[in-house]
Amino acid sequence: MAGTTLPGRLIWQVATVTDVRDETPRARTLVLDVPQWPGHRAGQHVDVRLVAEDGYQAQRSYSIASAPGDTSVALTIERIDNAEVSPYLCDVLHAGDGLEVRGPIGGYFVWDIAQGGPLFLVAGGSGIVPLMAMLRHYARATAADRASIPVRLLYSSRDWDDVIYRKELERLAELPNVDVRFTLTRAAPAGWNGFRRRIDRAMLEQVAGPASDMPRVFVCGPTPLVESVSAVLVELGHDPSRVRTERFGPTG
């Protein structure tokens, strides 16, 4: 059987933080050097484990933001007030520190250029992170590959300052086959003429494109958003097996 590879064991390792970068007032990117990193697919995540001096352990999953092919692993973490893990990762951890991780993990909520499109991505808040890996992967594809795959992103955030990767997304929107739509749910800057509400059926009817185009859909973010968006897309005629979801839990 040519090409079949036995997968390796998934083990906990100590990664080194090589860089930290504030993306928004609430979100920070950690760049990690993970020993013997085998590479990853866009959409995959890592598990992170913190162990306190008294032995107490906390474990969380974080989506990989970096494009496949990068040697280092970027995680973008949204700080949730009074939570156990994210305040430590956002406020305390700095370059040179170690962090226990295992990964890459995932095989359902993943996209490679070889899967084709069209691609419809829907993000709420920090749900943009795995979709950003997909977009970064797409941006590195050849012009010929990109020409055959139209991409649309619908990204819901509280306000304009909360939009993670905002400048990079504006640049990606300049690619010929890429359409980026933002919706702001709490406050908008002066002169804003984009969407100003939570994602609803009318917005999806307008933005998703016809179900007959058979897009591959990826929806990620808070559980209520993911569940309502995927239910509406199925109501609009999208094939449920082409609508993939990743829930991040309650809204932060």
Binding site: H45, R102, E246, R247, F248, G249, P250
Partner: protein, 93 residues
């Protein structure tokens, strides 16, 4: 135990499931022993907490797979899973 708005899905259980299976199974198709519904593990609803994973059928809420970690054991209850079809992969996952 998670409430509905806090529930996750099979993606969140993928790391724990890698302790049981030799490869990622989030794309594997699970058949629910409760109602016969089939779908990827990634679409099961996850209600676990720090001690383990509970994956429920999105159609009938039957617990399809439970994995609970105790100090000396990893306890797996697969009684809600009547069939698991794992795709052969040609990529390291």
């Amino acid at each position: 135990m998670r409430t509905e708005e806090m529930r996750l899905d099979g993606n969140a259980a993928a790391g724990t499931l890698r302790e049981l299976f030799a490869r990622d199974v989030t794309a594997a198709i699970a058949t629910c022993a409760g109602c016969g519904a089939e779908g990827p593990i990634g679409r099961l609803l996850e209600y676990g907490n720090g001690m383990g994973v509970i994956l429920r059928c999105p159609s009938c809420e039957t617990a399809v797979l439970r994995v609970v970690r105790t100090p000396r054991w990893l306890r797996v209850d697969a009684s809600g899973l009547s069939l698991l079809a794992i795709p052969e992969s040609v990529v390291i996952s």
